[in-house]
Amino acid sequence: MSTPSLPPSLPAVIGSLPPTEVRKHLTAELLAGRAYPPAEAVDKSTTWLGDHDRRRTDEVRDLVEEAMDRYADNRTASDAWLAPRLHATLRLTRREAADAGIWAFLALRLAPDYVLWRFPPKRPKSSTEQSSEQVNAARFDGEYHTQAFARLWWTAELFRDGPDYRPVEVCCANQDMLGTTLRLDIARHRATARALVELLDRRTVRTGREVNALAKAVNTAGTTLLFEALADAGTTDAGAYRDWVEQVGVQVPRERLPEGPPDGSVPWESVERLLVLFERLFKEAPVRGKEAPEEAED
């Protein structure tokens, strides 16, 4: 794939693109990786967020370029590096992150090259011979669990343990944990998310199929069991999160993990209580093709 050249100058701050505009830019040319959206037109329809250090485009751009550089040979592995650092660089509240227009801006204007690099155009699964190679448009404009940048930010937000991003790294290292669990209700309870990652870290679950079987079993159990009643996730300190968001001039480290918002950690007793339950649920769960070797996953 020949890479189209990026539009030269980036605006100083991040903006939000309205959905009607986003759809206009999702052209066949873009999805095939042949052209980026016209920068001028995108800028014209963008609502700019107030000027603030945490909304500067250059830091995000630097970070994304470094991810592509570091992981040139292993795109999938870039998720574990980029997710915590993107979260620590953008410093959004959940309220702000709920604006899909911000994610669309990052994908269509700030770094369309990253989206095409991370999810190279390919033939759709259920397609005929004639259809050409393209990127799933949802990588630019999809829901939080599919959009190229939103998926990383939300994984970091939902799987971090207070300031500790290590569970996020573990989660991202398994594409099924990231892809399947993120969209399920169970990812919305900190202690549950923490326990799921712990099972991955302890190698109780290893293959993609095992992870999927576990996630499914836990999610199903969650329809009749109130996990919050079994395992208190601890209190979250909204003020501490806000203070962290407002901190400016923080250099996000490249080698070691950054520090996330110190808004409270999950009590370990809660995680342990859930581990016992989830191990049991996993033992009882059917795993597809248990003996089969694991397929290469995207």
């Binding site: 329809s45 829901e143 009643a229």
Partner: protein, 316 residues
């Protein structure tokens, strides 16, 4: 509880969630902004747009069967949930009297975007398994962060605009159309073309039948557009099973599917539409969809009235 089979006894009677007081940063919210009828708490943003925390004092009235049953270690909780911010929090309620539980739930503005669902859950230990859900509030409440008056909100936002206006370039290609539905975003929007001559007069017409007819037509179009957008957003899991797309898309599908496939369960109907779309058998689906959308828009009834009225006029 309804619509789901539980492998253990659950509550049958009503559990009513009553809102006692709502405070924004400690200041009580005007009573008029709490509507028990619509079960909506409208956080009037004009008064206090920069509020940080909302507190809700509530009571849950449980049916007497809860005490009469064999349930052990009964607990009641209140939950706050918003899908768009992936925010969910649970607060345990204390027992105020035999059948009344009370507590205060808190939500932070930073964690919420538009609408928070306020629900209650009742759990018990069943066969040594603590935390089994045996009941929910019969009707959940909505904390609406944008509403000025507490009304059950139609999820389709309506914007009146001249489609030919230069400040709305994305509407320009549709300038000949009376209305347009934008269903690709986080929230669907219906645009009414004020530049379409006569449309506004029809919509504001004193003749109720005419007004209703146009309204029903728009409504039917909206349902069709929303359904198609929602169906297109259905993805599959690792086992190639379709997954509910979430948000308004799930609500739209769940509302229309029973009319599209009355013989199927909701989950089976989802599999059905997904399979048909995959196999390119969309024609029959569209016919069923028009039928379902018409029913939602109450089109047959209105058309019927309209025809009768026309007939009356002709005969008179």
């Amino acid at each position: 509880m309804n619509n789901r089979l539980f492998p253990y006894p659950t509550l049958v009677g009503r559990s009513d969630l009553e809102i006692h007081e709502v405070r924004l940063d400690g200041m009580p919210l005007r009573r008029a902004l709490i509507s028990p009828g619509a079960r909506v708490i409208a956080l009037d943003r004009a008064d206090r747009p920069d509020w940080e925390e909302v507190e809700v004092d509530l009571r849950l009235h449980t049916p007497t069967e809860l005490r009469a049953g064999t349930w052990q270690e009964i607990r009641c909780y209140s939950s706050l949930f918003e899908g768009r911010t992936n925010s969910r929090s649970i607060t345990q309620l204390g027992r105020a009297s035999d059948d009344v539980w009370s507590g205060t739930v808190r939500a932070h503005h930073d964690d919420h975007h538009r609408r928070i669902e306020l629900d209650a859950l009742i759990t018990a230990t069943i066969q040594d398994e603590p935390g089994r859900i045996i009941g929910r509030a019969t009707e959940a409440w909505t904390i609406d962060l944008e509403a000025r008056t507490p009304a059950r909100r139609n999820t389709v936002q309506t914007i009146r605009a001249d489609f030919a206006a230069p400040d709305r370039p994305f509407l320009n290609p549709y300038r000949e159309d009376p209305w347009m539905i934008e269903a690709s975003g986080e929230e669907p929007v219906l645009y009414i073309n004020t530049g379409f001559e006569g449309l506004d007069r029809l919509l504001r017409s004193n003749d109720r039948t005419t007004r209703d007819m146009v309204g029903a037509q728009i409504s039917s179009d909206v349902w069709v557009a929303l359904f198609n957008a929602a169906a297109a957003a259905v993805e599959t899991d690792v086992d190639d099973q379709p997954i509910w797309p979430g948000g308004w898309r799930s609500s739209v599908l769940q509302r229309l599917l029973p009319d599209l496939f009355p013989e199927h369960s909701l989950d089976d109907a989802l599999i059905e539409i997904h399979a048909r779309r995959e196999q390119g058998e969309g024609a029959d689906l569209q016919a069923r969809l028009l039928h379902a959308a018409g029913r939602q828009a109450r089109l047959p009834k209105r058309l019927d009235v309209h025809i009768r009225n026309l007939a009356k006029k002709e005969n008179s």
